[in-house]
């Protein structure tokens, strides 16, 4: 089996860190003794842009967690898989220049892994502050749980 990669995309600006927070949470909650996690790499990246294609190229299944602004409620969770990602309006992700565009580019070039799952989390504040809304704690836990459940089913 090829590796599974879980990437949290973010920036240091306010709630835009949410992808990183989910990764931090995942790292503390996975069971390292579980066989499946020998095949899983979990990392955070600061707006990788086109480099995202390099980061995911060796994987068979990729999970991406990113902040989104789509007009929903703070903390809303969205899940998109493969082609559904490319139907997203550009710029819906706060890193649209990277995540959506890079994945669309990879799709056009036929260089994407077999399965890509994008977890988007609705945020409101991406200003130059380091704080993240406490109300997002529950969302972080929920996304963590959802990803762990999905991966457990793969083993």
């Amino acid at each position: 089996m090829k590796p599974i990669k879980i990437l949290g995309i973010g920036s240091p600006f306010g709630e835009d860190q949410i992808g990183w927070k989910v990764i931090e949470s995942l790292k503390t909650k996975i069971n390292p003794k579980d066989k499946i996690y020998k095949m899983v790499s979990i990392n955070s990246f600061d707006r990788p842009g086109i480099r995202l294609l390099e980061l995911i190229q060796d994987a068979e299944i990729v999970y991406i967690v990113d902040a989104m602004k789509s007009g929903g409620k703070l903390g809303d969770i969205y899940r998109y898989e493969n082609k559904a990602i490319f139907k997203l309006q550009k710029k819906i992700s706060t890193h649209s220049i990277g995540v959506i565009d890079a994945l669309m580019l990879g799709n056009e070039l036929g260089s994407l892994p077999k399965t890509i799952i994008l977890y988007g989390i609705e945020i409101k504040n991406s200003k130059f502050v380091t704080d993240i809304s406490k109300s997002l704690d529950r969302t972080i836990n929920k996304v963590t749980k959802l990803i762990i459940e999905e991966i457990s089913k793969l083993s």
Partner: protein
């Protein structure tokens, strides 16, 4: 055509990791009344962050100034601190630093050419749109960019914010098998580079030629990365420690970033300035290729910056092959430094142009003062001057959308750190 005589165009500020930028343009009675490029650069804060830090922390700090050109910040800082200590490195370190730098130019230039600039010239809104029609060309761009990242990783341990460089050299020498693997890959990319230049030469680039001053490092025997005199095509020829005698950094009220002028005039730094000043130091295969394609330098057409970048991509492949072919494991990947109080200067060529550093260190080699002059700050006044001249050439009577798109293209020719932002500028037009 706009019927109003007075037009105010405001491009709102967008935040990006490499900087925040906006453009304000006011046209009154068919003349440009106000033109302001507003850039907010993080290096100003970094200079303060560095105060009180020990010299051996500086490289890790300055690498964070820019996600695209951390090598440049590390190299200018390393040279400045070595200059303060009186440290002499050796030919192995000198060569490996050049190869390290090749990686960064390759990564940065390939990114700009394929994903920021080319969609402009080929009439696409985005790189994914462009890749539908030009998949092989885009794949080639990704290959070149990826190789650049691999080269940075070879010396830096990782491609983003690398950690392998230190004052005096590198913490670790790459293994011979690692080097040979990249050498084999580099050789396969020569054809890609030649094809890239030939392809770009076929583009019908606009021509906004006008006079400006090109400033870069110049080395008598090599294309410049880490060493040389600061020269211009108008006769400047000074050592890097004389920078402050000729260049003046100053605050403008509308921007957090300092402007920088050469004897009170704007000037250009970056790939086109380097090629204009150092053309003869490019290797023979590049000269013969350019001759066959009828590409000539020097050039005063900023649109030819994309060609300059493609030429430097080719140069980096050839230079990395030259260096990696001679690679041997050294006795030590660094020279020992003797930390002491003093001042030092470092000036190297970042992908976007000359990057000047100055440090003052106390008796414990802690930073008392740091001054960093990045290329995007240096190009700000030149971009404003270019916009002023080129928009008039273009025709101020054109529609606001056309003026906006044209302004963005002009700005992108400089590959400022706000390139990403300028690709997605939301324009608000206020008619007075």
């Amino acid at each position: 055509m706009s019927k109003n005589k007075n037009i105010s165009i405001n491009v709102p500020i967008l935040s990006r990791v490499e900087g925040e930028g906006s453009l304000e343009l006011e046209i009154k009675n068919q003349d440009i009344d106000v033109i302001k490029l507003k850039i907010y650069e993080p290096p100003r804060f970094f200079e303060k962050f560095l105060e009180g830090r020990n010299y051996n922390e500086v490289l890790d700090f300055v690498a964070r100034i820019c996600g695209i050109c951390p090598v440049a910040y590390q190299m200018s800082a390393a040279h400045a601190i070595e200059n303060a200590f009186g440290t002499e490195t050796n030919p192995w370190i000198r060569d490996m630093r050049r190869a390290f730098y090749c990686g960064e130019w390759l990564e940065s230039h390939s990114m700009h050419i394929h994903f920021l600039a080319l969609p402009d010239f080929l009439g696409f809104n985005t790189a994914p749109d462009m890749s539908r029609k030009f998949p092989n060309e885009v794949k080639r761009g990704i290959r070149l960019q990826s190789f650049g990242n691999e080269l940075i990783k070879l010396f830096g341990g990782r491609s983003v914010h690398p950690v392998g460089a230190c004052v005096g050299g590198f913490y670790k020498a790459p293994s011979v098998p690692e080097v040979n693997m990249l050498l084999r890959k580099a050789k396969t990319l020569i054809a890609d580079c030649e094809d890239l230049i030939a392809w770009i030469a076929t583009l019908d680039l606009p021509n906004n030629s006008h006079d400006f001053t090109s400033v870069s490092l110049y080395h008598p025997t090599e294309y410049p990365f880490n060493e040389g005199l600061i020269v211009s095509d108008k006769g400047l020829n000074i050592s890097i420690d004389e920078f402050e005698d000729y260049f003046n950094e100053f605050q403008v009220p509308y921007s957090n970033a300092l402007h920088c002028t050469l004897e009170n005039k704007p000037y250009l730094v970056g790939p086109l300035a380097r090629i204009n000043n150092c053309f003869e130091n490019l290797p023979l295969p590049i000269h013969t290729l350019l001759q066959s394609l009828k590409i000539n330098f020097p050039s005063k057409n900023m649109y030819q910056s994309i060609i300059a970048r493609a030429i430097e991509v080719y140069y980096c492949i050839l230079e990395s092959i030259r260096i990696l072919e001679q690679y041997k494991i050294p006795d030590s990947p660094y020279v020992k430094t003797k930390a002491k109080a003093g001042s030092g200067f470092g000036c190297t060529e970042a992908p976007r142009g000359m990057l000047w550093h100055k440090y003052k260190l106390d008796q414990n080699a802690n930073v008392l003062m740091a001054k960093i002059v990045p290329p995007t700050s240096q190009n700000q006044a030149r971009i404003e001057e270019d916009l002023y001249i080129s928009l008039k050439q273009f025709g101020l009577q054109k529609k606001e959308d056309e003026l906006r798109a044209y302004s963005e293209m002009i700005i992108r020719n400089y590959d400022p750190c706000i390139s990403c932002a300028t690709h997605f500028i939301n324009l608000k037009v206020n008619r007075i």
